[in-house]
Protein backbone atom coordinates (compact mmCIF):
# COMPACT_ATOMS: atom_id res chain seq x y z
CA UNK A 1 0.00 0.00 0.00
CA UNK A 2 1.50 3.33 -0.93
CA UNK A 3 1.48 6.33 1.38
CA UNK A 4 -1.03 8.23 -0.74
CA UNK A 5 -3.57 5.42 -0.55
CA UNK A 6 -3.03 5.00 3.19
CA UNK A 7 -3.68 8.69 3.87
CA UNK A 8 -6.69 8.66 1.56
CA UNK A 9 -8.21 5.68 3.36
CA UNK A 10 -7.56 7.29 6.74
CA UNK A 11 -9.56 10.32 5.57
CA UNK A 12 -12.37 8.08 4.31
CA UNK A 13 -12.34 6.16 7.61
CA UNK A 14 -12.50 9.43 9.58
CA UNK A 15 -15.50 10.65 7.55
CA UNK A 16 -17.19 7.23 7.79
CA UNK A 17 -16.86 7.33 11.57
CA UNK A 18 -18.43 10.81 11.57
CA UNK A 19 -21.34 9.57 9.48
CA UNK A 20 -21.93 6.69 11.90
CA UNK A 21 -21.76 9.01 14.91
CA UNK A 22 -24.19 11.44 13.24
CA UNK A 23 -26.51 8.56 12.29
CA UNK A 24 -27.07 7.34 15.85
CA UNK A 25 -27.52 10.87 17.22
CA UNK A 26 -29.85 12.19 14.49
CA UNK A 27 -33.48 12.69 15.60
CA UNK A 28 -35.06 12.70 12.11
CA UNK A 29 -35.45 9.35 10.37
CA UNK A 30 -35.32 10.88 6.84
CA UNK A 31 -32.02 12.55 7.67
CA UNK A 32 -30.75 9.16 8.84
CA UNK A 33 -31.84 7.66 5.49
CA UNK A 34 -29.91 10.37 3.62
CA UNK A 35 -26.86 9.65 5.75
CA UNK A 36 -26.76 5.93 5.01
CA UNK A 37 -27.04 6.58 1.26
CA UNK A 38 -23.78 8.52 1.44
CA UNK A 39 -22.33 6.03 3.90
CA UNK A 40 -22.79 3.16 1.41
CA UNK A 41 -20.50 4.91 -1.09
CA UNK A 42 -17.92 5.63 1.60
CA UNK A 43 -17.92 1.97 2.67
CA UNK A 44 -17.33 0.80 -0.92
CA UNK A 45 -14.42 3.21 -1.09
CA UNK A 46 -13.11 2.31 2.37
CA UNK A 47 -12.94 -1.38 1.45
CA UNK A 48 -11.27 -0.40 -1.86
CA UNK A 49 -13.97 -2.09 -3.91
CA UNK A 50 -14.96 0.85 -6.11
Amino acid sequence: MNAMRFIYQLIVLYLTAHFLWYLVREKKAWAQASTVMVLALFLLRLFWIK
Partner: protein, 378 residues
Protein backbone atom coordinates in the same frame (compact mmCIF):
# COMPACT_ATOMS: atom_id res chain seq x y z
CA UNK B 1 -43.20 14.88 4.06
CA UNK B 2 -44.40 13.42 7.36
CA UNK B 3 -41.76 13.63 10.06
CA UNK B 4 -40.68 10.25 11.45
CA UNK B 5 -38.69 10.26 14.64
CA UNK B 6 -35.15 9.00 14.36
CA UNK B 7 -34.02 6.62 17.09
CA UNK B 8 -31.09 4.23 17.56
CA UNK B 9 -33.50 1.53 16.31
CA UNK B 10 -34.17 3.32 13.00
CA UNK B 11 -30.44 4.00 12.72
CA UNK B 12 -29.82 0.27 13.15
CA UNK B 13 -32.41 -0.60 10.50
CA UNK B 14 -30.89 1.86 8.03
CA UNK B 15 -27.44 0.51 8.80
CA UNK B 16 -28.59 -3.03 8.06
CA UNK B 17 -30.09 -1.87 4.76
CA UNK B 18 -26.81 -0.12 3.94
CA UNK B 19 -24.80 -3.22 4.78
CA UNK B 20 -27.02 -5.26 2.43
CA UNK B 21 -26.66 -2.66 -0.34
CA UNK B 22 -22.88 -2.55 0.11
CA UNK B 23 -22.72 -6.35 0.13
CA UNK B 24 -24.65 -6.79 -3.12
CA UNK B 25 -23.06 -3.81 -4.87
CA UNK B 26 -19.61 -4.90 -3.70
CA UNK B 27 -20.20 -8.43 -4.93
CA UNK B 28 -21.26 -7.12 -8.35
CA UNK B 29 -18.22 -4.82 -8.57
CA UNK B 30 -15.82 -7.56 -7.43
CA UNK B 31 -17.28 -10.00 -9.96
CA UNK B 32 -15.74 -7.79 -12.65
CA UNK B 33 -12.33 -9.02 -11.47
CA UNK B 34 -13.10 -12.59 -12.60
CA UNK B 35 -11.57 -13.24 -16.00
CA UNK B 36 -13.75 -14.91 -18.58
CA UNK B 37 -11.92 -18.01 -19.83
CA UNK B 38 -10.10 -18.24 -23.14
CA UNK B 39 -10.02 -21.80 -24.50
CA UNK B 40 -6.99 -21.81 -26.80
CA UNK B 41 -6.90 -24.08 -29.84
CA UNK B 42 -4.78 -27.22 -30.01
CA UNK B 43 -2.22 -25.14 -31.93
CA UNK B 44 -1.21 -23.28 -28.77
CA UNK B 45 2.48 -23.65 -27.94
CA UNK B 46 2.76 -21.75 -24.71
CA UNK B 47 0.93 -19.39 -22.37
CA UNK B 48 3.05 -16.81 -20.63
CA UNK B 49 2.21 -14.02 -18.26
CA UNK B 50 3.05 -10.50 -19.40
CA UNK B 51 5.04 -10.24 -16.16
CA UNK B 52 7.56 -12.64 -17.75
CA UNK B 53 8.70 -9.52 -19.63
CA UNK B 54 8.53 -7.18 -16.63
CA UNK B 55 8.57 -8.98 -13.26
CA UNK B 56 7.20 -5.98 -11.35
CA UNK B 57 3.81 -6.65 -13.01
CA UNK B 58 3.50 -10.02 -11.27
CA UNK B 59 0.72 -10.03 -8.69
CA UNK B 60 -0.84 -6.83 -10.03
CA UNK B 61 -4.05 -6.48 -12.04
CA UNK B 62 -1.85 -5.31 -14.92
CA UNK B 63 -0.53 -8.81 -15.48
CA UNK B 64 -2.25 -10.68 -18.29
CA UNK B 65 -2.06 -13.83 -20.40
CA UNK B 66 0.11 -14.00 -23.51
CA UNK B 67 -0.88 -16.84 -25.91
CA UNK B 68 1.94 -17.98 -28.18
CA UNK B 69 1.40 -20.10 -31.30
CA UNK B 70 4.63 -21.20 -32.97
CA UNK B 71 4.68 -22.86 -36.39
CA UNK B 72 7.02 -25.68 -37.37
CA UNK B 73 8.53 -23.60 -40.18
CA UNK B 74 10.50 -20.39 -39.72
CA UNK B 75 8.76 -17.16 -40.63
CA UNK B 76 7.70 -13.80 -39.28
CA UNK B 77 6.24 -13.01 -35.84
CA UNK B 78 2.87 -11.34 -35.48
CA UNK B 79 1.62 -9.71 -32.28
CA UNK B 80 -2.15 -9.20 -31.93
CA UNK B 81 -3.45 -7.05 -29.09
CA UNK B 82 -7.08 -7.09 -28.01
CA UNK B 83 -8.43 -5.17 -25.05
CA UNK B 84 -6.06 -2.22 -25.14
CA UNK B 85 -9.38 -0.47 -24.55
CA UNK B 86 -11.67 -2.93 -22.74
CA UNK B 87 -14.79 -0.98 -23.75
CA UNK B 88 -14.18 -1.87 -27.41
CA UNK B 89 -15.46 -5.45 -27.54
CA UNK B 90 -14.70 -6.34 -31.17
CA UNK B 91 -10.98 -6.00 -30.36
CA UNK B 92 -10.82 -8.51 -27.53
CA UNK B 93 -13.48 -10.84 -28.91
CA UNK B 94 -11.47 -11.03 -32.17
CA UNK B 95 -8.32 -11.83 -30.18
CA UNK B 96 -10.20 -14.58 -28.31
CA UNK B 97 -11.66 -16.00 -31.55
CA UNK B 98 -8.17 -16.11 -33.04
CA UNK B 99 -6.70 -17.79 -29.95
CA UNK B 100 -9.48 -20.39 -29.95
CA UNK B 101 -9.23 -21.33 -33.62
CA UNK B 102 -5.87 -20.83 -35.29
CA UNK B 103 -3.05 -23.24 -35.90
CA UNK B 104 0.19 -21.69 -37.07
CA UNK B 105 2.14 -23.61 -39.69
CA UNK B 106 4.87 -21.06 -40.37
CA UNK B 107 6.13 -18.22 -38.20
CA UNK B 108 4.75 -17.22 -34.80
CA UNK B 109 1.54 -15.56 -33.67
CA UNK B 110 1.39 -13.97 -30.22
CA UNK B 111 -2.04 -12.96 -28.93
CA UNK B 112 -2.82 -10.84 -25.88
CA UNK B 113 -6.62 -10.82 -25.57
CA UNK B 114 -6.72 -8.52 -22.51
CA UNK B 115 -3.88 -6.08 -23.00
CA UNK B 116 -5.13 -3.70 -20.31
CA UNK B 117 -6.25 -6.38 -17.89
CA UNK B 118 -7.07 -3.88 -15.14
CA UNK B 119 -9.45 -2.00 -17.44
CA UNK B 120 -11.70 -5.08 -17.62
CA UNK B 121 -12.37 -4.93 -13.88
CA UNK B 122 -14.59 -1.83 -13.93
CA UNK B 123 -16.80 0.09 -16.30
CA UNK B 124 -16.82 3.72 -17.36
CA UNK B 125 -18.52 5.86 -14.70
CA UNK B 126 -21.81 7.60 -15.52
CA UNK B 127 -22.31 5.66 -18.77
CA UNK B 128 -24.88 3.15 -17.50
CA UNK B 129 -23.10 0.43 -19.44
CA UNK B 130 -23.89 -3.22 -18.77
CA UNK B 131 -21.12 -5.16 -17.04
CA UNK B 132 -21.31 -8.04 -19.51
CA UNK B 133 -22.64 -9.19 -22.84
CA UNK B 134 -23.46 -12.67 -24.01
CA UNK B 135 -22.70 -14.47 -27.26
CA UNK B 136 -24.92 -17.52 -27.82
CA UNK B 137 -23.24 -20.74 -28.96
CA UNK B 138 -24.81 -22.87 -31.68
CA UNK B 139 -25.03 -26.05 -29.59
CA UNK B 140 -26.77 -24.24 -26.73
CA UNK B 141 -25.06 -22.36 -23.96
CA UNK B 142 -23.33 -19.04 -24.29
CA UNK B 143 -20.06 -17.25 -23.70
CA UNK B 144 -20.04 -14.21 -21.52
CA UNK B 145 -17.60 -11.31 -21.92
CA UNK B 146 -17.12 -8.27 -19.73
CA UNK B 147 -17.50 -4.75 -21.01
CA UNK B 148 -14.73 -2.88 -19.27
CA UNK B 149 -13.46 0.66 -19.36
CA UNK B 150 -11.16 2.51 -21.71
CA UNK B 151 -8.90 3.21 -18.74
CA UNK B 152 -7.09 1.26 -16.04
CA UNK B 153 -9.14 0.80 -12.86
CA UNK B 154 -8.39 3.64 -10.40
CA UNK B 155 -8.34 0.95 -7.69
CA UNK B 156 -5.10 -0.20 -9.35
CA UNK B 157 -3.66 3.16 -10.33
CA UNK B 158 -4.51 6.30 -8.43
CA UNK B 159 -4.45 9.30 -8.30
CA UNK B 160 -4.26 10.76 -11.81
CA UNK B 161 -1.95 13.76 -12.30
CA UNK B 162 -3.52 17.06 -13.38
CA UNK B 163 -1.54 16.93 -16.61
CA UNK B 164 0.03 13.75 -17.88
CA UNK B 165 3.31 13.88 -19.76
CA UNK B 166 3.59 10.46 -21.33
CA UNK B 167 6.86 8.55 -21.87
CA UNK B 168 7.04 9.87 -25.42
CA UNK B 169 6.88 13.47 -24.12
CA UNK B 170 3.32 14.37 -25.12
CA UNK B 171 1.20 16.46 -22.72
CA UNK B 172 -2.23 14.96 -22.20
CA UNK B 173 -5.16 15.38 -19.83
CA UNK B 174 -4.54 13.70 -16.48
CA UNK B 175 -6.76 10.64 -16.87
CA UNK B 176 -4.90 9.56 -20.02
CA UNK B 177 -2.27 8.26 -17.61
CA UNK B 178 -4.57 5.22 -17.37
CA UNK B 179 -5.01 4.84 -21.15
CA UNK B 180 -2.70 2.07 -22.37
CA UNK B 181 -2.77 3.42 -25.89
CA UNK B 182 -1.26 6.72 -24.79
CA UNK B 183 1.47 5.24 -22.56
CA UNK B 184 3.89 3.72 -25.08
CA UNK B 185 6.80 3.07 -24.98
CA UNK B 186 6.07 2.81 -21.27
CA UNK B 187 8.27 3.26 -18.24
CA UNK B 188 9.89 0.41 -16.35
CA UNK B 189 9.21 1.99 -12.97
CA UNK B 190 6.29 4.22 -13.89
CA UNK B 191 2.54 4.05 -13.32
CA UNK B 192 0.94 0.61 -13.70
CA UNK B 193 -0.35 1.41 -17.21
CA UNK B 194 3.10 2.63 -18.24
CA UNK B 195 4.59 -0.62 -16.93
CA UNK B 196 2.08 -2.63 -19.00
CA UNK B 197 3.16 -0.63 -22.07
CA UNK B 198 6.81 -1.17 -21.16
CA UNK B 199 6.24 -4.94 -20.80
CA UNK B 200 4.60 -5.06 -24.24
CA UNK B 201 7.62 -3.23 -25.70
CA UNK B 202 9.90 -5.74 -23.96
CA UNK B 203 7.85 -8.60 -25.42
CA UNK B 204 8.17 -7.07 -28.89
CA UNK B 205 11.94 -6.94 -28.52
CA UNK B 206 12.53 -10.32 -26.90
CA UNK B 207 10.15 -12.27 -29.14
CA UNK B 208 11.52 -10.49 -32.23
CA UNK B 209 8.07 -9.36 -33.33
CA UNK B 210 7.92 -8.19 -36.97
CA UNK B 211 4.45 -6.74 -37.02
CA UNK B 212 2.05 -5.59 -34.30
CA UNK B 213 -1.70 -5.23 -34.72
CA UNK B 214 -3.73 -3.36 -32.12
CA UNK B 215 -7.49 -4.06 -32.40
CA UNK B 216 -9.88 -1.25 -31.50
CA UNK B 217 -13.35 0.15 -32.08
CA UNK B 218 -14.60 3.68 -32.39
CA UNK B 219 -17.88 5.58 -32.36
CA UNK B 220 -19.66 5.91 -35.73
CA UNK B 221 -19.42 9.72 -35.51
CA UNK B 222 -15.62 9.54 -35.18
CA UNK B 223 -13.73 10.01 -38.46
CA UNK B 224 -11.10 7.31 -37.90
CA UNK B 225 -13.39 4.35 -38.40
CA UNK B 226 -13.49 1.21 -40.54
CA UNK B 227 -9.86 2.03 -40.89
CA UNK B 228 -6.34 0.73 -41.00
CA UNK B 229 -4.16 3.21 -39.10
CA UNK B 230 -0.57 2.58 -40.10
CA UNK B 231 2.91 3.69 -39.16
CA UNK B 232 4.76 5.05 -42.20
CA UNK B 233 7.01 1.98 -42.20
CA UNK B 234 3.90 -0.10 -42.90
CA UNK B 235 2.31 2.08 -45.60
CA UNK B 236 2.91 -0.36 -48.44
CA UNK B 237 1.61 -3.27 -46.40
CA UNK B 238 -1.47 -1.34 -45.25
CA UNK B 239 -2.24 -0.25 -48.82
CA UNK B 240 -1.87 -3.81 -50.08
CA UNK B 241 -4.19 -5.12 -47.35
CA UNK B 242 -6.74 -2.36 -48.04
CA UNK B 243 -6.73 -3.19 -51.78
CA UNK B 244 -7.14 -6.85 -50.93
CA UNK B 245 -10.12 -6.12 -48.67
CA UNK B 246 -11.70 -3.71 -51.14
CA UNK B 247 -11.37 -6.34 -53.88
CA UNK B 248 -13.45 -8.59 -51.62
CA UNK B 249 -16.08 -5.85 -51.31
CA UNK B 250 -15.12 -4.52 -47.88
CA UNK B 251 -14.78 -0.74 -47.64
CA UNK B 252 -11.86 0.24 -45.45
CA UNK B 253 -10.01 3.53 -45.02
CA UNK B 254 -6.30 4.08 -44.80
CA UNK B 255 -5.17 6.54 -42.12
CA UNK B 256 -1.54 7.47 -41.64
CA UNK B 257 -0.40 7.56 -38.03
CA UNK B 258 0.19 11.27 -37.21
CA UNK B 259 3.87 11.84 -36.49
CA UNK B 260 3.13 14.30 -33.66
CA UNK B 261 0.59 12.14 -31.86
CA UNK B 262 2.81 10.34 -29.39
CA UNK B 263 2.36 7.44 -27.06
CA UNK B 264 0.10 5.37 -29.31
CA UNK B 265 0.84 1.82 -30.41
CA UNK B 266 0.85 2.63 -34.15
CA UNK B 267 3.40 5.39 -33.52
CA UNK B 268 5.74 4.11 -30.79
CA UNK B 269 5.89 0.46 -31.86
CA UNK B 270 7.14 1.67 -35.22
CA UNK B 271 9.43 4.43 -33.94
CA UNK B 272 10.88 2.75 -30.85
CA UNK B 273 10.78 -0.96 -31.69
CA UNK B 274 11.12 -0.61 -35.46
CA UNK B 275 8.34 -3.08 -36.18
CA UNK B 276 5.48 -2.67 -38.61
CA UNK B 277 2.71 -1.13 -36.54
CA UNK B 278 -0.97 -1.11 -37.46
CA UNK B 279 -4.15 -0.27 -35.55
CA UNK B 280 -7.55 -1.40 -36.77
CA UNK B 281 -10.89 0.31 -36.06
CA UNK B 282 -14.46 -0.94 -36.46
CA UNK B 283 -17.68 1.01 -35.75
CA UNK B 284 -19.34 0.44 -32.40
CA UNK B 285 -22.58 2.24 -31.54
CA UNK B 286 -22.35 1.36 -27.84
CA UNK B 287 -19.14 3.35 -27.79
CA UNK B 288 -20.62 6.56 -29.17
CA UNK B 289 -22.31 9.69 -27.80
CA UNK B 290 -25.45 9.49 -29.93
CA UNK B 291 -26.65 6.10 -28.73
CA UNK B 292 -29.89 5.39 -26.91
CA UNK B 293 -30.04 3.13 -23.89
CA UNK B 294 -26.79 1.20 -23.37
CA UNK B 295 -27.43 -2.54 -23.22
CA UNK B 296 -25.92 -5.92 -23.86
CA UNK B 297 -27.98 -6.25 -27.05
CA UNK B 298 -26.71 -2.89 -28.32
CA UNK B 299 -23.18 -4.29 -28.06
CA UNK B 300 -24.01 -7.63 -29.70
CA UNK B 301 -26.71 -6.66 -32.23
CA UNK B 302 -25.48 -3.10 -32.77
CA UNK B 303 -28.98 -1.79 -33.55
CA UNK B 304 -29.64 1.78 -32.50
CA UNK B 305 -32.41 3.97 -33.95
CA UNK B 306 -30.58 7.18 -33.06
CA UNK B 307 -27.49 6.13 -35.02
CA UNK B 308 -29.71 5.02 -37.91
CA UNK B 309 -31.26 8.50 -37.87
CA UNK B 310 -27.88 10.23 -37.60
CA UNK B 311 -26.77 8.20 -40.60
CA UNK B 312 -29.81 9.33 -42.62
CA UNK B 313 -28.91 12.91 -41.72
CA UNK B 314 -25.38 12.35 -42.99
CA UNK B 315 -23.75 12.90 -39.60
CA UNK B 316 -21.72 9.69 -39.46
CA UNK B 317 -18.50 8.51 -41.06
CA UNK B 318 -19.87 5.04 -41.73
CA UNK B 319 -23.18 3.82 -43.17
CA UNK B 320 -25.46 2.85 -40.30
CA UNK B 321 -28.83 1.33 -41.23
CA UNK B 322 -31.76 0.15 -39.11
CA UNK B 323 -30.18 -3.33 -39.12
CA UNK B 324 -27.22 -1.92 -37.16
CA UNK B 325 -23.65 -3.18 -37.21
CA UNK B 326 -23.56 -6.36 -35.10
CA UNK B 327 -20.55 -7.54 -33.15
CA UNK B 328 -20.21 -10.54 -35.50
CA UNK B 329 -19.74 -8.16 -38.43
CA UNK B 330 -17.22 -6.03 -36.55
CA UNK B 331 -15.22 -9.09 -35.47
CA UNK B 332 -15.42 -10.51 -39.02
CA UNK B 333 -14.00 -7.21 -40.33
CA UNK B 334 -11.11 -7.38 -37.86
CA UNK B 335 -10.44 -11.00 -38.78
CA UNK B 336 -10.49 -10.24 -42.50
CA UNK B 337 -8.14 -7.30 -42.00
CA UNK B 338 -5.71 -9.37 -39.91
CA UNK B 339 -5.75 -12.09 -42.57
CA UNK B 340 -5.19 -9.58 -45.39
CA UNK B 341 -2.28 -7.98 -43.52
CA UNK B 342 -0.66 -11.36 -42.85
CA UNK B 343 -1.09 -12.26 -46.54
CA UNK B 344 0.37 -8.92 -47.56
CA UNK B 345 3.38 -9.37 -45.27
CA UNK B 346 4.14 -12.70 -46.93
CA UNK B 347 3.87 -11.10 -50.39
CA UNK B 348 6.13 -8.17 -49.52
CA UNK B 349 8.66 -10.02 -47.36
CA UNK B 350 8.58 -13.78 -48.05
CA UNK B 351 11.17 -14.45 -45.32
CA UNK B 352 8.64 -13.09 -42.79
CA UNK B 353 5.68 -15.03 -44.13
CA UNK B 354 3.23 -16.39 -41.56
CA UNK B 355 0.98 -19.31 -42.51
CA UNK B 356 -2.12 -19.79 -40.39
CA UNK B 357 -4.60 -22.64 -40.62
CA UNK B 358 -8.22 -22.54 -39.40
CA UNK B 359 -8.44 -18.77 -39.78
CA UNK B 360 -12.17 -17.96 -39.34
CA UNK B 361 -13.33 -16.67 -42.75
CA UNK B 362 -15.24 -13.38 -43.00
CA UNK B 363 -18.27 -14.85 -44.80
CA UNK B 364 -18.57 -17.80 -42.42
CA UNK B 365 -18.45 -15.59 -39.32
CA UNK B 366 -21.30 -13.53 -40.80
CA UNK B 367 -23.27 -16.60 -41.83
CA UNK B 368 -22.80 -18.81 -38.77
CA UNK B 369 -22.41 -16.12 -36.14
CA UNK B 370 -19.65 -15.52 -33.64
CA UNK B 371 -20.69 -18.36 -31.37
CA UNK B 372 -19.65 -20.87 -34.04
CA UNK B 373 -16.05 -19.73 -33.57
CA UNK B 374 -16.00 -19.69 -29.79
CA UNK B 375 -15.54 -22.90 -27.87
CA UNK B 376 -18.06 -24.11 -25.32
CA UNK B 377 -17.06 -23.84 -21.67
CA UNK B 378 -14.91 -26.78 -20.63
Amino acid sequence: MREIKGTPLTAGIFLLLTAAAVFFAGRAYLSMHRDEPVYPSAGLTEIKALSAYLPSLAGTHGDTGVYIFRGAEKGGTLLVLGGSHPNEPAGYVTASVLAENIRVLQGTVIIIPRANHSGFSHSDPQEGNPQRFVIPLPGGGAREFRLGSRLTNPIDQWPDPAVYINPAGQELSGNEVRNLNRCYPGREKGYLTERIAFAIMELIGRERVDIGLDLHESAPEYPVINAIVFHENSSELAALAALDLQAEGMEIRLEASPVNLRGLSHREWGDRAGIKAILLETPNASHGRLKGQPSSSLIVDGKDKFYARASRLGRLFVPYGEEGIPLAQRVARHLAAVEAIVRGLGDLEPAKAIAIENFPPFAEVLEKGLGAFLRAAE
